[in-house]
Symmetry: C2
Subunit: 336 residues, 2 copies
């Protein structure tokens, strides 16, 4: 039996191997499909895709399929398709947010301009769907399109609730389900389908993805307040300034006494005039245990996600299960 330290080393090496193989597959796919294409398009796509991303979505595809019994070359192409879509949304998001930086380097829009960013995002979107349809068939594409159109719906829903102080926890969860969790769920679900999983296996992995996706977004929103600017590369309190009410603030508004609530509302409405509005709100959220509450809720979601995996045999699938458990743990403890 190996020691825990060896296990972790083994886990990391297994994760790195998957990421490396997905990157190799992306390079080969671009080379094959971009023959005769404009050199600038080729450059932009390489720049956008091969920049040290964490490759979490491809990892989920690969492990989900392995758990259902399939691991071949095509699997890594399917995994690459999910990274294509993910990068397409990041590139478009950076245009929408006028972001200059992404993963510590210039965002595509900053380096190549808005036109190149929108067009390259569209290219990746099209290529992604093409690959998913080829490899996972009509059923796979249906699930995928439902998830991507949902994502747009979630963004609109979020825009609708900007500066809306009556937003409920339920509405918050409706947004993050659409914006984040459905796509992560579809990643696992399509991986399982591709792997030839049974109905229960496919459903179990979809549930894992949905729950871990929700946990991921809760922590992402938490890091917006508590993250280290150096680590996340984002300004602290960005959501607050943009009027996005996320879980800690919703919790604080519900829990606050009359006086604190008044102060919070003043902070939310007056954030542009008061430079300390965000730090005041942060102090109150801290006092009202809203950050702990959010973290606990994320932990609960991740735990529920993991229990959806009990149907897989631990002896046979120890390594794959360890990756999914490790990922759930990473989602909860990450600092960027």
């Amino acid at each position: 039996m190996t020691s825990p330290a060896t296990d972790i080393t083994h886990l990391f090496s297994s994760i790195r191997q998957i990421a490396a193989r997905v990157e190799e597959t992306m390079r080969a796919d671009l080379e094959r499909v971009l023959v005769d294409n404009d050199p600038l398009l080729v450059e932009v796509l390489h720049y956008a895709l091969l920049n040290g991303g964490k490759r979490i979505r491809p990892m989920l595809v690969v492990v989900s399929s392995r758990l259902c019994g399939r691991d071949d070359d095509d699997l890594y192409l399917l995994a690459a398709a999910f990274e294509y879509l993910h990068v397409a949304t990041l590139v478009h998001d950076d245009v929408i947010d006028h972001a200059d930086q992404r993963r510590g380097v210039d965002a595509v829009r900053k380096k190549y301009g808005m036109a190149a960013a929108i067009l390259a995002g569209d290219w990746l979107h099209a290529r992604s769907m093409h690959l998913i349809s080829s490899l996972a068939g009509q059923q796979g594409l249906n699930i995928f399109c439902h998830a991507t159109t949902s994502m747009v719906d979630g963004e609109f829903l979020q825009l609708r609730h900007v500066a809306d102080i009556t937003v409920t926890e339920e509405q918050y969860f409706a947004v993050i389900l659409r914006k984040t969790a459905r796509l992560i769920s579809s990643t696992c679900e399509i991986g399982a389908l591709f792997g030839g999983g049974t109905t229960q296996q496919v459903a179990g992995l979809a549930t894992y993805g949905r729950k871990v996706g929700i946990a991921f977004q809760i922590i992402d929103d938490l890091l917006d307040y508590l993250g280290d600017k150096q680590a996340t590369g984002k300004k602290v309190g960005n959501d607050f300034v943009e009027g996005k009410l996320t879980l800690p603030l919703i919790h604080a508004l519900n829990r606050a006494g009359e006086e604190d609530k008044k102060t919070l509302l003043k902070c939310i409405k007056g954030h542009q005039d008061q430079p300390d509005a965000c730090s005041t709100a942060k102090r109150l959220m801290n006092e009202l245990d809203s950050f702990d509450f959010s973290r606990q809720r994320a932990g609960l979601e991740a735990k529920e996600g993991l229990s959806a995996l009990t149907l897989f045999n631990r002896t046979r699938h120890g390594e794959s299960l360890a990756v999914l458990e490790g990922l759930a743990g990473y989602v909860l403890t990450r600092d960027k």
Copy 2:
């Protein structure tokens, strides 16, 4: 036998009927698929789609399928998918070009903002591929994705040649094939495949689409110089100011004597300082018959497109052939 006047009336009424049925199908599809979606997303999609577009692409799908023997409800949904993609590209193009107007009303980006425009375009892109894959299968989606990724490639190629005075006719045709003609070709080809056409029928309709697509873009580029601002809604000489060398200018540069060529080059390089640069260039292109040359070339392409249709039986398919002939004629004679 009917008189030509009756024929034309009949043709218009047949075209209007197709457009109306496609619009009805789009409304029903949005209603079905947007249940529980954010009301603003619903509003933006309706605004973008139902604004009096000419519905040329849906028309091509419907007629191509009819020529191959199929005309049912699903055909109009397939046709709608092509309009979704077309509108997605227009909405994204308007973001790229900072355009305020589209078809005489506010562009989506102007009315709802850039975020809504990019996201709604992505939604339409995803929905379009979903429908095409469901209705025209893997083969249809392959053709479609090749055409959409080509479109992006064409835009990049065009960016590369901005202010490039050495650009050749061949390079110009390579750009418009990718940017415009492949998608129109795929529209006819997928319509024919859906209709159960033979290999020859599918190839014939694809050729028609490619040739008419090339003619369309040549005339589009011509209208950039000669169009009535009121009719096209665009500034005259836009391409010239942006440094896009289209067919008339390439022709003029090739044909001009030493003196005229010098003047043209001065106009192209100095267009920002000289307010009359575009009109001087226009005068020279006119004198060098470059506009006539372009129009003739477009006419030739359209004619070749029509000869690809001789394999269809005129007695049986008179009405469908009349629509395709009418469309080729419209492409050549339109003033907006």
